[in-house]
Every structure is written in C-alpha cells, then in structure tokens.
Amino acid sequence: MGNKSFRQSMAWLHTWAGLVPGWLLFIIFLFGTVAFFQQEISCWMRPELKERAVSDTALRGASRLLMAKAPDADRWIVTLPSDRGGDPLTVTWKSGTGEAAMSGKAILDPASGREIAVRDTRGGWFLYRFHFELRYIPYWLAEILVCAAALAMFVAIVSGIVTHKKIFADFFMMRFGKGARSWLDVHNVTAVLALPFHLMITYTGLVTLLFTLMPWAISVQFPSRESYFQTAYPPGPERASKGEMIPPLLLDEVVERAKVLQGGVAPGRIIVEHPGDVASVIQLWPSPTRIGGTSDALYLDGSTGKAMQRPPTSGLATASRGVMIDLHAGRFSGPVLRWLYFLSGAGGTIMVASGLILWTVKRRSKLPDPARPHFGFRLVERLNISVIAGSCMGIAAYFLANRLLPLNMAHRSDWEINGLFLVWGTAFIWIVARPAKRAWVEALAACGVLYTLVPVANALSTTRGLIPSLIAQDWVFVGFDLTMLATAAACAFAAWKIATHRLQAAPERKACKLAETAT
C-alpha cells in the first residue's frame, strides 16, 4: 500500500467498502426504493378497502362504536389513513394496567365507518420496515449491520467520486457490448446522474440511525435514553379523571377543529385520554404531509374542544433532524415527485448491483483457470445472483402470497412474509447448484414469470383486476399492475440478453464498429 497514489488507495477503499456490505446495501436500496410506494402497495394488498380518504361519516361511526363498546375505557386510540390510503380506519381502546388491563380493536371502512373484514397483511409497511430492521434477527443486530452498511455506503460514495477520473468528460458516456467497460459505464452513469440523490439518501439515512451511531452526545448529558426523550420531547398536558361524565366530542368535529388549528393538516392519530370525562384530553398527532412540517401534537380539551397549552417545541437541531428524515422518507411528496424518488432509488439499486457485478467481470478475465475459479470469486458470483435476482423473486412472491393464501389462515401476514423468504431461499439453493450463466438466465426468467403472475392472480382473486381498474380509473391499482408487468418485461429482457450474450455479442460489436467508421 505504501507507495500507491492517493487515487489508487481510494480505488482500493471503494472496491472493498462497496463489496463487503454490497449485498446488504442492495437489499436496503431495493426495499427502500419500493417503500417510497408503501401506501400504494398497501392499497393493493388490502383490496377490501375501496375508498382511500377517511369520511366524516366514518369518523362519526368510529365515535359511536367507541361509545357503545368502550365508554369506560381509559384511552381511545384512532388511527386514520392518509389521503394516499392503504390503511383502514382503526380504533383501539384500553383500560386498566397490569393484570386488569383490557383492550379491544376494530377495523372500520374509511368511507362508511362500518366494521369491515380486511385480509391480515402487513402490506407495504413490511417492505419499508425490512429495509432497516431486516427479519429473523434481533433488532439490535439488524441496527448494527444496517449502520455499518450505511457508513460503508457513504465511504464508497466519497471514495468513488475521488476514484472516478472523468466525471464531466464521461458524464454522458455509455457504451454497450464492451464487457467490463460497459459495466463500469452503467455503474458510473447510475452513480453520477443521481449523485445528489445518493448523497442525500445515504446521509439522511445515517441521520435516521443517529441514536445508534452517535449515542455519546446523549449518554454524556443525560443519565438515560428515557430522560433525554423526556427533555427533548416533553409530554403534553395531562389531567387526572374527575369522574364527572359528559358526552364526548364526536371525532369528525375533533378532526375539523384540528384542521383549522393546524392550517389544514389532518391528524394521523387521535388519542383520547379519559373519554367522556370532563377532564378528558385529546391528542392529535399530525401525519407528515409537507417537508419540515410539524410533528408535534395538538392538545384539545376533551369537554370544550379548546386548544390547550402545548409543551415547548424542541430546538433547531431536532427540527433539522426532522427535515432530513422527511427528505429521506419523501412522505411529503406528491405523485410526480414520488416517481422521481422511486426512479432515483432504482438508479441507486442498479448502481449497487452493477458495482457488485463489475467486481466479478473485472476479475474473470484475470483468473488463472476461468473454468475453475477460486472460492472467493465463486462466493461473490453466487451471492450476486442469489441476492440480486433472488430478492426480486421474493418481492413478487410476497405479492402473490397476498392474493393466494386463504383469507382466514392463522398468522396470515407472517406467512406472506415467510413466502417471500421461502422463495428467496429456494432460489438461493437453485442458484448455487447451477452454472453461473444458466443461474442468471433461469433466475431472471423466473422473476419475469412471477411478476407476470401478480396481475393475473389479482384479476382472478379480486374484482379489481387491470381492466376493471382501468374502467373505474383506479390509478393506484392500474399503476401497480402495470409496474408489475414492466418489471416482468425488464427481467425477461435481462434474461434474454444474458442468454444470447456470447452468441451475438462479438459480431454485433464488429458491425457497430463498422457502422461507426462508416458515418
């Protein structure tokens, strides 16, 4: 290492900081990108919910249900779907503590407010959570792994910028059919064109992991994590119940008041403490709708509906952290910006995948015996195929399981997720057993088939297939099915390209050269 140039040592750093956590980074990028559409995915995965936004009728229905079922509860919790839908209107009630604790829950239709049977699924929420808490491993371990991967990503981005010799001269460069050179072009183009996005998403991703990465700022100043949160996010007004009962405010009035007081922002969650008591307090937590928007709750007096004194809002540092997390999650974005987020994220996913593939492509030609590569090479090659193609197969399987599993199955939502990993695991075993090129072709072809089957299963098992959805102008369902078909087409195209690679690449390249010299 000693006498290498700065750029060479950065190239070394880029190679290994990218490769070692590369497969985890691919998973984080892929699932994170998909999660930009988590509400829309939830809409599709809960086809029982026809309407998205919550109506006043439904809120009144929720109030009536709570008053009938749990008039004496200590607390009512109402979770409202956002305008993007995907979630039902959920009411929960709780009373007592410890042994005597009682609770109940009802799922309501956001339009009618009647109780509705919705299939047991975690929807897009699981894909979102998986991109940082993983699955089947303890949360602390997932957190450490994801933190390490995110740090490595940041190192890889910065060292990659240093390593890239001609960012501006090669800005628009993309050459097909030239082996390692083409893979490098793909890697460079996806990295450079969406560089602002990659920097932003990685940095703000680190910010979301702040308390794990930088615990010392808290541990030096506060005796415990809890006391920090108490100081940073002081609790709102609390009142003991007086035992004097009055009819509680109806939820639709409460939401209306909150909208007026919060400048139009609808609450995402309403908590009523001591419902029906004169000392009742209503907390209204906003759902994030605008960048840097407030995440502080609004407190209403439960008997008069008047706004109560809020706890002091947290400082500028907390506010900047809030903006960065908003930027990362993109929940404030409208449909167009959401697609831009998604496409930039897809670029990042391709960047990570092409980097991983480039590692093998560059080394294949230098192998002493290409027919019998060494263990490290084979490991990277197999992990590439099984993580890149396998995770895509898994997501398709997750959507298929949502449509195919029996509706009254026990632990249904868990089995949807197990389905994802069973298919992925099976793909892994298959891929390890096959020659590399065949494995790529077969895995990508299988991806193509699975993604084609998703809209088919949707059309057969619900009344909301592609054609009825087109007629009903239900753009979420249309968009979902078309995205599945586009993904299937992309996988099939990639499989076809790899399958025909050796046979056609050479003459085509010659023809291209000839054409270039002719013009």
């Binding site: 628009f172 993309m174 054409a515």
Partner: protein, 96 residues
C-alpha cells in the same frame, strides 16, 4: 405544468452540455466546435438548468421545488445518456 417545464428546460440544458464535449460534437455534429462556440453552449446549457431551478422553485415552493429540480435533472440527464448510447440507431432512422 411546472413539472413539464422543469423537465424540458433540464433536458435542453443537458443536450447543450452534451454538445460542449468534443467527442460528442464529432459524433452528433460531424465536426468539432470552436472554443468560443463551446463556451456559449456551456453557458446556455447551465443557464437553462438554472432557469429550470427557478421555474421549479417559483412554481412549487423553493424547498419542494429544489427536490423536484434534482429529480428532473437526473431524469433529463438519463434520457440524454440513453439517446447518446443509441446514437447509431437514431442516426440511421433520421438519415437512412
């Protein structure tokens, strides 16, 4: 509408910036441009990208618009790269 304008301005800007690079001048125009022409192209391209920012910020608010601007910049540049990579095919269609 703001989105379309932001995208088209970014696209125009990147097309001009593509033509600043001598290798691509040879490919697309069949000749190399003079340094002064290159400078004009570069300034015009950057001006269009800046204008796209103003359109996005003015139309959608500066915080939201700035994010949208970055998104459309990426898409516009990606489209220019795709066109550039398929130059032979495009040229054949335009001038068979």
């Amino acid at each position: 509408m703001t989105h379309v304008a932001t995208f088209l301005l970014s696209l125009g800007g990147f097309v001009l910036l593509l033509l600043v690079i001598p290798r691509h001048q040879q490919d697309w125009l069949g000749r190399k441009l003079f340094p002064r022409q290159r400078r004009v192209l570069r300034l015009a391209g950057l001006a269009m990208l800046a204008l796209a920012f103003i359109v996005a910020g003015g139309g959608l608010g500066w915080a939201y618009g700035a994010i949208v601007w970055f998104g459309w910049l990426t898409m516009a540049a990606a489209l220019v790269v795709t066109a550039n990579a398929n130059r032979a095919r495009i040229m054949r269609r335009v001038r068979p």
